[in-house]
């Protein structure tokens, strides 16, 4: 029993590690992408610095990455992991494809959160003589914060699902546990344990995410 606990525990830590780092990296990549997508959009859609060329190229790249089946994306990105980390196997190596798979998702979430901002507010900021950078940093991001928090919550939950898949391809974590111990060794108790831990994790993150987002809205 304690052996099972140890195994489930260390798998949980691996999943948390994958999810945490891939969330951080996907936000680091996705946030600027989302901002660029929004500010290069047409003026009618609230673009600060419309650029149809950049916008359509970026938009297409994001769409391609988003429509790729994740399992294929991991395999395709294995060489990239090897290039960055020297290995394509293990928890750390999985963070690369996870981050890259989630980044376009984050970009779209950021873009749509920024689009929701009342254009009048941005016009007011412009009329007061704000530079574009000031508008982005001091107006757009703070104004969109509740939606951004909800978006990141959703990203984390998606990444928990993705990480289970990635685990099966050599990344470890709860997905790997469920498949190797639960499925291949016919040990349903491991399967159940892995699923329960994932469910609890998702539930917790959803609750905390909603709390933060609601708190931000209530303060307004």
């Amino acid at each position: 029993m304690s052996r099972m606990f140890d195994i489930v525990f260390s798998s949980t830590i691996e999943t948390l590690e994958m999810v945490f780092f891939s969330t951080v990296f996907s936000v680091i990549i996705g946030l600027p992408l989302g901002i660029i997508l929004q500010i290069t959009d047409t003026e009618e859609h609230g673009g600060l610095k419309p650029s149809p060329v950049i916008n359509s190229i970026l938009s297409r790249i994001v769409n391609i990455f988003r429509s790729f089946p994740f399992i294929i994306l991991i395999i395709l990105l294995m060489p990239l992991s090897r290039l960055i980390l020297g290995t394509a196997i293990g928890t750390e190596a999985t963070i690369v494809p996870l981050s890259i798979a989630a980044a376009p998702f984050v970009a779209r979430i950021v873009e749509s959160a920024l689009k929701e901002i009342d254009p009048g507010v941005i016009q007011a900021a412009r009329a007061m003589g704000s530079t574009n950078t000031q508008i982005i940093v001091k107006v757009m991001i703070p104004e969109a914060m509740p939606s951004l928090v909800s978006g990141v919550t959703l990203t984390i939950i998606n990444l928990i699902g993705y990480s289970a898949m990635a685990g099966a391809l050599g990344g470890g974590g709860l997905g790997d546990l469920a498949i190797r111990y639960g499925y291949q060794r016919f040990n349903p108790s491991y399967m159940v344990a892995a699923v329960v831990v994932i469910l609890v994790m998702v539930e917790l993150i959803q609750v905390v995410g909603n709390k933060i987002s609601n708190h931000l809205i209530a303060k307004r």
Binding site: D118, G120, V121, Q123, A124, A125, R126, A127, M128, G129, S130, T131, Q134, K138, V139, P142, E143, M145, K219, R220
Partner: protein, 330 residues
């Protein structure tokens, strides 16, 4: 600061939103620009306030041309003007004081001075002690007060009001307008007030320009325009005003072919009786009242004149001789 517009033009496709507008907005006044929706007011204010560039024409603040500024100069110039809007356009992520602080923050003012100035401004607009209030907890009037404080934070030379009272009830509108007038005097501002409400022009403006289909159809001192409107658009605005204004009482729905306007001292004189005796005309009064325009009283009387065509014409001539403006409804 004086604003001069020279032959401004702005087209959206085939629509002439602003069509050859030339205007001189004197320094230190409240200048109203009135028009129906779609008349081009919003485009015009965006052109004057450097938010949009005209297709043709020039905009001058005093002697400085501002419609063709480079990016850096444009941002500097924008920091010298203030603007308030119909929907207030406050930052919901900031409380009242932080909203007022924003224009000072972007200019790189230090925290201490910002704090001090914010307190002063809250005081000025009558919201002392409400600095920590989240925007959503404020009423419409209070939101507009915060917006005014924010617009005045950097001591601008010009304040643009884009339909600033259109989302407010009549009482709040009056309070906000008197606040703007008060501040205008205190800070020697040039105020440009865009509106579709003649009440706003009547209660707060010194000058007015009437905009229709992208063109200025009439302009002048408010009292002059109210007493003697020339264009159909202006008359239309004024007639709406008359019908809704509480001091004009109409006791008959029919008739009322003539509208007589009495200015200033003539409001008191017994002109109607005098004319009636001289010419034998019979006046059938349908509605009457007094409007206060910029501290000047303008009397309005809607009536029919009888008994026949000949006497009617004589009576009108006599009235006009006495300085009364007679307008015939067609």
């Amino acid at each position: 600061m004086e604003i001069t517009l020279k032959h401004l033009r702005r087209n959206y496709g085939s629509l002439h939103a602003v069509d050859d507008v030339s205007l001189n907005i004197p320094s230190n006044t409240v200048f109203g620009i009135i028009g129906r929706s779609g008349a081009g007011k919003s485009t015009l204010v965006r052109l004057i306030s450097m938010l949009e560039r005209p297709d043709e024409g020039e905009v001058y603040y005093d002697d400085k041309r501002v419609d063709n500024l480079e990016k850096k100069a444009l941002i500097d110039a924008r920091r010298r003007i203030g603007m308030i809007f119909q929907n207030f356009n406050l930052f919901s992520s900031r409380n009242a004081a932080e909203n007022i602080a924003y224009p000072m923050e972007i200019c790189g003012m230090d925290k201490g001075s910002i704090k001090k100035r914010t307190e002063e401004l809250l005081d000025l607009v009558g919201l002392s002690g409400r600095g920590n209030a989240p925007i959503s907890t404020l009423s419409g009037g209070q939101k507009q007060r915060v917006a005014i404080a924010r617009a005045l934070a950097v001591n601008p030379d010009i304040l643009f009001c884009d339909e600033a009272t259109s989302a407010l009830d009549p009482q709040t509108t009056r309070a906000i307008l008197s606040l703007i007038k008060e501040i205008q005097k205190k800070m020697n501002l040039t105020v440009v007030m865009i509106t579709h409400q003649m009440e706003v022009v009547r209660d707060s403006c010194d000058y007015v320009a009437v905009l229709d289909a992208g063109r200025i159809v009439e302009e002048g001192k408010v009292a002059d325009v109210f007493a003697n409107p020339k264009s159909a658009t202006t008359k239309d605005f004024l007639s709406n005003l008359t019908s809704v204004h509480s001091s004009v009482v109409r006791w008959s729905k029919d008739g009322g072919r003539y509208t007589l306007r009495f200015r200033g001292s003539k409001t008191d004189a017994p002109i109607l009786s005098t004319v009636s005796r001289q010419t034998g005309a019979i006046f059938n009064i349908r509605a009457a009242g007094v409007q206060i325009v910029n501290d000047e009283e303008i009397g309005i009387m809607v009536c029919d004149i009888g008994p026949d065509k000949e006497i009617e014409e004589k009576a009108i001539a006599a009235l006009e001789e006495n300085g009364i403006i007679v307008e015939e409804e067609k």
